[in-house]
């Protein structure tokens, strides 16, 4: 029992620190990808290939002066970025990172919590993300920040609906809301993307909107709102808002890989006759490769597409994605019943 608790604490810390590290290095990768797409070199001064750049950025953010406007609401001003960061980190609790490792006859699952309502948990946490932004934007007592925060909440609640509806068709097919079950059902090449392409497309668009990534980055639209909801933030509190975006990107990549792309499964890998623990390590790297692909997709689209206008954003969310998601549910239901 004690060993198990120590193991759980260890696993929690490793997953959290891994998410933070990946988020840190995503900033470097983002700049490198931007440079690659624009035919530049990108950061290359700090360390070989600029590998120490994220560390330098992190240290800079930590040692910058903390600024708070005197009209701001002190408590909420600090709560906003902390909540955003915490919520971004919490989503990864239900993701199965690989098959359980067996050491000395004991089974150690590489998943913090295998709850039978995993998908609902993700939605519950993701929809709380809007609080962090709204609280931070409101507490700064700045007009730009307030406008950015109101926009962000409006955008996030709109796309959350389509996101929830698109996942329902997946739940109908798999008959389970546990992420572990959903991954196990996709063993071999039965990836859900082949059965639910429309649901994946809707989910992908909503994932962009939920993480406030371009082309849906209206909350922090520099040309209109200065810095959006984090206009008044500086130092590590600003860093939290920026990091949270990358953590969200990483986690939504992991969710998409888990729900639609077979998670840690890859065709024929489980038939190679590897031992259980080797398979676990290989599975983890397979999942990570898929997440990396999604991370690249996020950046690729950011540096390719221009930003939406707000009315276009609302029209896409309410008049295109939600009807499409409902239609997808009906079609899926009919196909399941007829078969």
């Amino acid at each position: 029992m004690t060993i198990f608790i120590i193991y759980k604490v260890f696993l929690c810390s490793v997953i959290l620190i891994l998410s933070l590290l990946v988020a840190m290095y995503s900033t470097l990768i983002e700049r490198k990808v931007a440079a690659f797409l624009q035919d530049r070199i990108g950061p290359d001064r700090a360390g070989p290939f600029g590998l120490l750049q994220p560390l330098a950025d992190g240290i800079k953010l930590f040692f910058k002066e903390e600024f708070m406007p005197n009209t701001a609401d002190k408590f909420l001003y600090i709560l906003g970025p902390s909540l955003t960061m915490l919520i971004a980190l919490l989503t990864s609790a239900v993701i199965p990172w690989s098959i359980p490792v067996i050491i000395g006859g004991k089974i150690y699952p590489l998943q913090v919590a295998d709850i039978n309502i995993g998908i609902l948990y993700i939605f519950a946490i993701v929809s709380m993300g809007v609080y962090g932004i709204m609280i931070g934007g409101w507490a700064s007592n700045n007009k730009y920040a307030l406008l950015g925060a109101v926009r962000a909440s409006s955008q996030m609640i709109s796309y959350e609906l389509a996101m929830g509806l698109s996942i329902i068709s997946l739940a109908m097919m798999t008959g389970s809301l546990s992420l572990k079950d959903i991954v196990e059902q996709q063993q071999g090449f039965h990836w859900n993307i082949f059965y639910q392409p429309l649901a994946f497309l809707i989910f992908l668009v909503c994932a962009f909107a939920e993480t406030n990534r371009s082309p849906f980055d209206l909350p922090e639209c520099e040309t209109e709102l200065v810095g959006g909801y984090h206009t008044e933030y500086s130092s590590m509190k600003l860093g939290f808002y920026l990091f949270a975006e990358y953590v969200n990107m990483f986690v939504s990549g992991a969710i998409m890989a888990t729900l639609f792309f077979g998670g840690y499964h890859f065709p024929f890998v489980d038939k190679l006759g590897l031992s259980n623990n080797t398979l676990a390590v290989v599975g983890f790297f397979i999942l990570f490769t898929k997440i990396t692909f999604f991370g690249f997709l996020f950046m690729w689209i950011r540096w390719t597409l221009p930003r939406f206008r707000f009315d276009q954003l609302m029209r896409l969310g309410w008049k295109a994605l939600i009807p499409l998601a409902i239609l997808n549910i009906l079609i899926t239901g009919i196909v399941i019943l007829v078969r």
Binding site: L16, F62, L89, L146, S153, S154, I157, F240, F310, I336
Partner: protein, 116 residues
Amino acid sequence: MSAESLILFFIVGAFLVGIAILFSSYIPPKSTNPQKSETYECGIPTEGITWLQFNVGYYLFAIVFLVFDVETVFIFPWARVMKTAGTKGFVEIIIFFFVLGAGLLYAWKKGALKWE
């Protein structure tokens, strides 16, 4: 065991975030003066109060969202048992979707989904 794991995860996460917040509020240098701690607004003195009315469109979307989100939560249990509920369950959920669609259509026709 899984609920405890979630709480544990929350505690470890809050610990990490708390340490970073504490660190960043004690380590960096501090200096302040009245002009510096004013709210930013294009570099000129702040005009009027911030917390006032904004576009009513945001409220409309929020209300429509509230209705739809609650209804989405009702669909999840059905999706879970869909295969055992069979045709009867499907017909019933179609009636549910009909109501949902009528609501969306009503909001649409009333112009609540139009941004201006």
